[in-house]
Structures are given as structure tokens and as C-alpha cells.
């Protein structure tokens, strides 16, 4: 009976998610799929990494997402001289009380926009590691909890650009999804050129969702049915990634869980109460794209990205 009630509530509210997608689409033109993936990632309680060359709208997307979701957010511009304390906070000696008092860093908010995360040194990047994995930070030996929900939306430039420190695998693994925007198609780009200034538009973006709504969507993840048949498919995919010899590392169990959660969230976003292979395929490139690499001497044609290759090679059972 709970399930049926859930079905009613979620199907009603899915329109709210669509509203959010539409609202963002007004700012980021022609990128509906990427926007849906971004929202999927947040419903699945995951951190989002947006990667692309400068100037395609990464930061704008991150800002718009933050506003539409109605979360309190802090933006951190990562630079090569940024230090961990700049993110986490620092204890300052208070002259009046004669004691040290803690000044919270920008990490203490619902949403952090980590702009150009790979321009900071690995040391600073790692400061976010504990925060992302455990929803807590340890500063000067004291563990402090972060607010709920806690998201990191990070943007980064492709690793081959000058002045970047590539994120280590362990750090990458903390992100549920990595999405790429790519160039808009010509009609969308034309609309962009015709339209208003994006910075101005950002100020007018309304908060479509409230944090409680977001949390209720996260909770409804449990009600999405995952059949044995789908789990078979997932395991076939993971097996292939591990044993085909095409990839440096196979997918980890954490990656498997990430795929399931993301696929469930994608199903919710598309008003499904069960996960279909299509849902899984839709989220797979974003979820495993940053976790899967071809082996250098792989014989497979490398025109396909590893995740795409994976999808095409594994039959749906």
C-alpha cells in the first residue's frame, strides 16, 4: 500500500522536476539531456562533476542548478594558491574572550559550487574528499557535521589544458556523475546569441524546488522496483568491464551502486516505478565515464568512449 501511495505522490511531483528542467533549459539552451542528468545526479544524492572546455556554460549550469533547487550555496573559485583552510574554515584567536573561535569555511552550506576544481593543487582538492564522502569535515582534530543535504557541484577543464592538476581517481570516484556539455547545436547557439545576457538571467531564475521536496524525491528512490532481470544486466556489464581486458580497472561495487541509484533517479525523473535497461543505459556514460579507461594497448576501436563501448558490447539479458 505504501508503494501505491508513493506512486501517487511522485507522479504528481514529477511535473515539478520537469518544471525545474524547463527553467534551467531557458538559461542553458539545447542541453536538456545534460540538465536531466544533472538533476538525476542530485536526486540520487550524488556529487556532480561538469567537465568541458571553457566557455560552454559549465559554471552557468552549476549556478542555475543551485538556484532552481532552492539550496543555499557557496561558490569557491579554485585557484592554484587556494589552501584547504580557505574551504574548510579556520580557528581565529578572539582577543575579547581570550579563546580560539572557529570560523566556518564555505564548505558549511547545502551546495558548493567548486569552480574549476582542477586548477587547485591536489592538497586543496583533497580537502573536499572527506566532506564529499562522509558529509563531515575534521578540522584541527575536531569532527564537524555538514548540513543536510550536502552537494558538491564541481566544474573542471579537460585535463590536457595548461595549469591543471588532474583529479586523482579516488577523488573522481567521489563524484556520482561526470557530465559533459559540448557545443550547442547551431539553432540553440543562434538563440543564445539573440537572447539576453546570461548573468542577468541568472538573477531572475526562480527556486522551483524546495529542499524538503528534494529530500522526499531522494527517499522515493527506495520505492523504485529493481527486478532481478535488471540486476542480471547490471552484473553482466560489471563483469564485462572487469574481465574483457579492454579497461584499466573494472567497475567497483561502489560504481555498481552508483549506477543503480542513478538509474532509479532517472526512472523517477521519467515517471517510471521500475528501472528499465534504457534507464541504465541513459545514466551509464555519465556514471562510469570518469571511472573507466581503455588499456593503452586495447585492440578495440577507440572511436567510442569506454562507457559507450561497454553498452554496445554487453547484450541485455
Amino acid at each position: 500500500m505504501n508503494i501505491s501511495e508513493d506512486i501517487v505522490t511522485t507522479t504528481n511531483d514529477v511535473s515539478r522536476l520537469d518544471d525545474a528542467v524547463n527553467e534551467i533549459s531557458k538559461v542553458i539552451l539545447g542541453k536538456e539531456n545534460a540538465i536531466r542528468l544533472a538533476i538525476t545526479c542530485l536526486i540520487a544524492k550524488g556529487h556532480l562533476l561538469i567537465e568541458d572546455t571553457p566557455g560552454v556554460g559549465k559554471t552557468t549550469l552549476a549556478h542555475t542548478l543551485a538556484r532552481v533547487l532552492g539550496l543555499s550555496y557557496q561558490r569557491i573559485q579554485f585557484t592554484s594558491d587556494l589552501l584547504p583552510a580557505d574551504i574548510l574554515g579556520v580557528s581565529v584567536f578572539n582577543k575579547d574572550t581570550g579563546k580560539f573561535s572557529f570560523h566556518q569555511g564555505p564548505v558549511f552550506s547545502n551546495l558548493i559550487l567548486a569552480d574549476e576544481i582542477n586548477r587547485a593543487t591536489p592538497r586543496t582538492q583533497s580537502a573536499l574528499l572527506e566532506a564529499m564522502a562522509e558529509n563531515q569535515v575534521t578540522i584541527e582534530g575536531e569532527t564537524r557535521n555538514l548540513p543536510e543535504p550536502f552537494y558538491v557541484i564541481a566544474t573542471q577543464n579537460p585535463a590536457n589544458q595548461i595549469g591543471t592538476f588532474p583529479l586523482p581517481e579516488s577523488q573522481l570516484d567521489r563524484f556520482l556523475m561526470r557530465i559533459e556539455l559540448g557545443y550547442p547545436d547551431s539553432s540553440a547557439e543562434r538563440d543564445l546569441f539573440k537572447g539576453k545576457d546570461r548573468k542577468e538571467m541568472l538573477k531572475d531564475v526562480p527556486a522551483v524546488l524546495t529542499p524538503p521536496e528534494l529530500i522526499s524525491f531522494q527517499k522515493s528512490l527506495d520505492a523504485v522496483h529493481v527486478s532481478d532481470a535488471l540486476l542480471n544486466y547490471l552484473q553482466d556489464l560489471i563483469d564485462f568491464s572487469r574481465h574483457s581486458g579492454n579497461y584499466v580497472h573494472g567497475l567497483s561495487p561502489r560504481a555498481g551502486l552508483a549506477i543503480i541509484n542513478a538509474a532509479k533517479a532517472w526512472a523517477i525523473l521519467h515517471s517510471n516505478q521500475h528501472v528499465l535497461p534504457e534507464d541504465l543505459q541513459a545514466v551509464l556514460p555519465s556514471v562510469v565515464g570518469h571511472r573507466l579507461q581503455y588499456i593503452y594497448e586495447s585492440t578495440e576501436p577507440q572511436t567510442l568512449k569506454p562507457a559507450q563501448h561497454l553498452i554496445q558490447q554487453v547484450p541485455i539479458p
Binding site: 500500500m1 505504501n2 508503494i3 522496483h225 527486478s227 532481478d228 532481470a229 535488471l230 516505478q273 521500475h274 528501472v275 528499465l276 535497461p277 534504457e278 543505459q281 553498452i311 554496445q312 558490447q313 554487453v314 547484450p315 541485455i316 539479458p317
Partner: protein, 661 residues
């Protein structure tokens, strides 16, 4: 269903449980005060009806319902106490169980309540064996157990993917799978002598049988019962029917109406007896009587183990017979029974003072006429024979002096009337006499070649003391109705047609078939009794010995039992885990047929293509197939990815009828 509350929607889950409970309690109904089954049924009904009609009330008024069930429980317990005058004992326990089982279902709201109700049901099933251990009872109870198990299957079938038939099949399979364990436990579970735990005293009240006293009507009441009293298998030939007197209680004392045993003669030196002729060896398997008498063929020469003679040669067991028991006895049908002392013989002359006036007068007349005791006896028997005495099961009710009225007015009676009147007459003539009760005759079952003695073979006769012959058996009934002794009760009383469904007297063939059928049924019952109910410690040892175990004690038996059960579970586990896993399920198989059909018309499904994508691609190129393909895909997705397996049949049909061109 991930919440634990049973809402009104779950009525269809409860209905099988309720049926099971009703059927489990049904055999008890006749034994219970009428209000208990009525309350039980009413509570079960209300549990279905109230949530159905007044769902909102049911949900909101839980405190009111909780209070009312408390009141019902207290009133019910008071009622049981009022009906039985006690709160202990077998019948009371069952009355409480039936009432509370109804109440438990009535209050059931959670999963736990449901399970408790179901387990109460299983318990209720077992209690029926307090009253009856026959094969039909066992079969009926097995059926109820299947229903109860099906109710559990149904309850746990959360997404309602099974039809009711499948649920029952599943339940039956479960029961069937438990059979090997049942057999091992039955054969190897160590048996101890007697019941492991004492049954309450009243557990044996319903048992019919010969008692230690006789009033007009006691035996004729017994004769209406078709129950088996005991079975006898003879080592050699079965003796003649007229020799088959099975000796039971011997009655000495009369108060004019009732015959009793008088002073206790238990555990005294038995009357001396001199045997002649052949020894007859036979096994008596006696049904539980809750009494001590063991019925042996007159006259038993020596008591077997755990039995003893009374002074007047009644054979009694040391412990009351509370379960079916078998004894091996030795008898001689020709014997001389002596007396121990002159006092005893004097006891056999006592008549109550103010009774039997006319009988005494009549006795005085005979006394004048005949000198020898033998002649006097013969005169009385002849008189019974000549006068218009009628042997009937339904004599008229006699008021006043029982013997006088019977002998000189009504003249209709049953063996107890004749035995009592004859004995009184003898005593009045100064011949010591006593009444012996027991069974006479029996029915030979040619299938298995043994003798069945039923309650309707109950009989009463006399023993008179003749100075030179000792105690001599005289059966006055045979003077009135010689057929009773020579042919058995069924042929001697026309108004006694025992469990004949039709009047078959005129159709000999059908009657013979009927008799054959009855014999077969009794044979099966006999084996059931011997090997299932009578499977006690001796039989267990014997069987294990025959199976090659040697004579093992209960410790080794327990170890063997554990090993056997372990082996059974292990083989089941091996069977399950070594079978190749089911890689392709049915929905997938049907869907593959669909894909093949599509491939034939040139649309090939790619291996990595999901069903929705495939259907979209088909619809894109073949708009005419869109509706069929969509409905197939929708169903497939539901079955495969939402686990709605109950739609499998629809899906199958859809695939079969789908033929794209």
C-alpha cells in the same frame, strides 16, 4: 507490502485462514457448548464484515475494538467456567482455544497477529486427535493443514502473483516435501512406555465399554455402538462361535435393580480351575477403555505380564488401558471352575429383602416341583423358551419391581434382563448364581483372518454353582434366542441393522459386497491401529531390528534420527545447488519469440537495445504495428522489470497472436 498493518484490503488474505480455522474447529463443535462455536464463527465473520462495511470505523475505533475484545475475552472465560465448572482439563482447554482463536483473528491487525492466528489453527488441528485417531480424522486434519499452510503462502504472496489454485498446490508441495522427515521422525523418534505427559483425567470420558455395574439398558445401549472393542487373532483355528464368551466384570450384588460387583475381589487368590482339552493361543488387541478389564476367552489359564486375576477370575490389567494394547493370552474352553471358600458361595445367594415377591413365589413353586438343581435350572430355561418371551433391543420401560415385571408382565428384554432375572430366580431357589458381563461372539474378518469384537457384541450371562461341577456358565438368552449365541447379534435381532445404509436384506449380492467392503475397511483400520497408533516402544524395537539396526537404545535411536534427517537435508541441498541455474526466464523466452517474428520482417533487435528503444525503432518504421508492439512491450516491461509475474499468461497469448507481415 512493506508496512506491517493489515488494512481492509487484506480481507482476501484472511479468507483462507478463516476457512482453515473454521474447518479445524468443526469436529469440536458437537462437543462444545453451543455458544462457543457460535461466538467463534461470529468473531470470524465480524473480522471480515466490519472492515468491509465500515472501513473508516474499523481504522479509527481501534481502542473501542481493543476494549470490546477484552470484554469478550473476560465474558468468554466466565462462560467457559460456567459451562464446565472448571478452567482446567481437556474439554475446557479446547473450549478456550476455540473461543480465543476466534478472538485472535478478530483483533488481528498486524503480521504478527496473522501468524499467531495461523499457529493457533495448527494447534487446533492437533487437538482433534484427543478425540479420534482414525484414518478419516487424519485425512481430514491433513486437509486442514494444507489449507492453513496455503493461508500462509497466500499471506506471503505479497504481489498476488499466484492464483488460489497455485497457492494450494504450493502448500501441498510443501507438505509433501515434509513427508520424508515425518517418516524418519515417526520411525526413529524414541518411544517411551505410556504417554510422555499425562493427559487430563477427562480425556477418556467419551469412551464406551463395559462397566462394573449393570442396570437395564446398560448393555442394550452399548449394543447400538458399532465401535470396535477389541480384535483377536488366533494362532490356530477360530473356535466355534458358541464358545466365544469373553469374560469381563463379574457381578455379585443386586439391590433389586442394579447389579454391582459387591466387595472388592481384586488381587486375591483366584478361584481354582481345572482345565482339559486343547490350549488356545491368541492375541487380543484392545481399544482404549480407560478401565482395567482385559477380555479373555473363558477361561484364561494364566495372566500375561502386567495383568492379574481377581478372585472371580476377571482378568485385569495393572494400569488402566488408555491406549490400544496387545496381549497374548492362553485359554481353555473346557474347564471346571471351583470356589475358594464357602463364604463366597453364600454371597451368591443374597437377594434384597423387599423385592421380587412374585419371583420368589414362582421359585417356591419350582422348588416343590423339581428336586435336583440341574432340573430346576432346566425347568427355568424351558420356561423361558416356551413362554412368550421376546428378545429385543427396545424393551418397554419397566416401572416397579424390575424382575417381577419382566418375568410376568412385559416379557420383552435384552440379555441383561434375562441374565438378571435368571440369576435372581436361581438365588430365590437357593442355587448360588452370579452375573457375568463381557462380550459374546465376534465377527470374522476373512481379509486378514482375525476376529473383530465390537461393542454391539456386549453380552451378559450367568454362572451358577453346582456342587459337583463348580461354577457353570448358563446363558439364559440362548434359551430365548439361540441365534444370538450361534449366529451373532446381527442375525438375532431384526430391528438391529447396524450401519447398513440400505435395506439390503433382499439383495444378497450387494450385501456380500457391503460386507466385503466393511471387512477391507476394518483391515486397513487394524493395520493403522497396529502400525501407526500402536507403534510403541516394543513395535519400534521390533521394526528397527527387522531393518537391521539390532536392538538399539533411545540414545542411539536419537543419533540415528539426527543422521537420517541430516542426510535428507543434505541430499535436498545437493539437489538444489547442483541444478543448473535458470538463466532465461519465461517472459524472456516469449519476448525472444517476438524478436524472431520481428527479425523475419526485417527489423533485427540489437543485443544492447532495450525493449523500449526497440519498440520505438519499430514504430518509427512500421506505424501499422505500433499498437501491438507497444502493448507487447508494455507488458514485457511490467513483467520483467516490475516483477508483475501474474501477467505472464496475458503476455504469452499476446505473443502467440502477434503475426507481423
Amino acid at each position: 507490502m512493506n508496512n506491517k498493518h493489515l488494512a481492509e484490503l487484506d480481507l482476501n488474505k484472511l479468507i483462507v485462514l478463516i476457512t482453515g480455522l473454521l474447518l479445524a474447529g468443526l469436529p469440536h463443535w458437537q462437543r462444545l457448548p453451543i455458544w462457543i462455536p457460535v461466538l467463534h464463527t461470529l468473531l470470524l465473520f465480524l473480522r471480515v464484515y466490519i472492515p468491509f462495511r465500515y472501513a473508516g470505523f474499523w481504522r479509527q475505533a481501534s481502542s473501542l475494538i481493543g476494549f470490546s475484545r477484552l470484554v469478550i475475552m473476560l465474558l468468554g472465560i466466565l462462560g467457559v467456567y460456567a459451562s464446565y465448572g472448571s478452567l482446567a482439563g481437556r474439554d475446557v482447554g479446547i473450549a478456550l482455544l476455540v473461543m480465543l482463536a476466534g478472538l485472535k483473528v478478530f483483533e488481528s491487525k498486524t503480521k504478527r497477529d496473522f501468524y499467531i492466528s495461523a499457529y493457533l489453527g495448527y494447534f487446533l488441528v492437533i487437538t482433534n486427535f484427543f478425540y479420534s485417531q482414525t484414518i478419516p480424522t487424519a485425512a481430514y486434519m491433513l486437509l486442514v493443514i494444507i489449507i492453513m499452510t496455503a493461508s500462509l503462502v497466500r499471506f506471503n504472496d505479497v504481489d498476488e502473483s499466484m492464483s488460489i489454485v497455485e497457492q494450494f498446490r504450493y502448500s501441498s508441495t510443501l507438505i509433501l516435501q515434509s513427508l520424508p522427515i515425518l517418516l524418519v521422525l515417526f520411525i526413529l523418534f524414541p518411544r517411551v512406555n505410556g504417554p510422555l505427559w499425562g493427559l487430563p483425567e477427562d480425556a477418556y470420558t467419551g469412551i464406551t465399554g463395559i462397566d462394573d455395574q449393570m442396570t437395564p439398558g446398560t448393555i442394550s445401549k452399548l449394543v447400538q455402538s458399532n465401535e470396535v472393542a477389541f480384535r483377536v487373532s488366533f494362532d490356530n483355528d477360530i473356535p466355534e462361535r458358541s464358545q466365544l464368551y469373553w469374560r469381563g466384570p463379574v457381578l455379585w450384588k443386586t439391590d433389586g435393580r442394579k447389579w454391582t460387583m459387591g466387595k472388592s475381589a481384586d488381587r486375591q487368590r483366584p478361584e481354582p480351575v481345572r482345565f482339559s482339552g486343547n490350549v488356545i493361543k491368541y492375541d487380543v488387541t484392545i481399544e482404549p477403555t480407560n478401565k482395567h478389564w482385559l477380555f479373555g476367552l473363558e477361561m484364561v489359564s494364566a495372566p500375561p505380564e502386567k495383568t492379574h486375576f481377581t478372585q472371580d477370575r476377571q482378568l485385569k490389567t495393572d494400569e488402566a488401558i488408555r491406549s490400544r494394547k496387545a496381549f497374548t493370552l492362553l485359554s481353555n474352553t473346557s474347564y471346571l471352575l471351583g470356589a475358594d471358600s464357602f463364604d463366597d458361595i453364600q454371597r451368591a445367594l443374597v437377594l434384597p429383602d423387599l423385592y421380587h415377591e412374585r419371583t420368589r413365589k414362582f421359585a417356591a413353586e419350582l422348588l416343590q416341583q423339581y428336586q435336583e438343581p440341574e432340573l430346576r435350572i432346566k425347568a427355568v430355561l424351558d420356561w423361558f423358551n416356551k413362554e412368550n418371551f421376546i428378545y429385543t433391543l427396545r424393551p418397554p420401560l419397566i416401572a416397579g419391581d424390575m424382575v417381577d415385571e419382566f418375568l410376568f408382565n412385559s416379557r420383552q428384554g435384552f440379555c441383561e434382563h434375562y441374565a438378571a432375572a435368571f440369576t435372581v430366580l436361581m438365588r430365590a431357589m437357593g442355587i448360588p448364581a452370579r452375573v457375568v458381563t463381557g462380550y459374546q461372539g465376534g465377527e470374522i474378518n476373512p481379509i486378514g483372518n482375525y476376529l473383530i469384537v465390537r461393542q454391539h457384541d456386549a453380552h451378559a450371562w450367568s454362572e451358577v454353582w453346582l456342587n459337583d461341577k463348580g461354577w457353570v456358565r448358563i446363558d439364559p438368552t440362548s434359551a430365548v434366542s439361540p441365534e444370538r449365541v450361534n449366529q451373532g447379534i446381527e442375525n438375532s435381532i431384526p430391528d438391529l441393522i447396524i450401519d447398513m445404509p440400505l435395506d439390503l436384506e433382499h439383495n444378497a449380492y450387494v450385501a456380500r459386497l457391503w460386507q466385503q467392503f466393511r471387512n477391507t475397511v476394518d483391515m486397513v483400520n487394524y493395520q493403522w491401529a497396529q502400525w501407526v497408533l500402536g507403534y510403541g516402544p516394543e513395535r519400534q524395537l521390533l521394526l528397527l531390528h527387522r531393518l537391521g539396526f539390532g536392538f538399539i537404545d533411545w540414545k542411539k535411536m536419537t543419533i540415528a534420527m539426527i543422521i537420517f534427517i541430516g542426510v535428507i537435508f543434505l541430499s535436498i541441498a545437493i539437489f538444489i545447488f547442483t541444478r543448473p541455474p535458470k538463466t532465461v526466464d519465461l517472459a524472456k523466452q516469449y519476448y525472444d519469440i517476438f524478436c524472431k517474428k520481428m527479425a523475419k520482417i526485417g527489423i533485427q533487435k540489437m543485443i544492447h537495445e532495450g525493449p523500449i528503444d526497440f519498440s520505438r525503432r519499430i514504430c518509427h518504421s512500421r506505424k501499422d504495428l505500433a499498437s501491438d508492439v507497444n502493448s507487447i512491450t508494455d507488458l514485457y516491461v511490467l513483467i520483467r522489470y516490475q516483477s508483475s509475474f501474474n501477467k505472464l499468461n496475458d503476455f504469452k497469448n499476446l505473443i502467440k497472436t502477434f503475426s507481423p507481415k
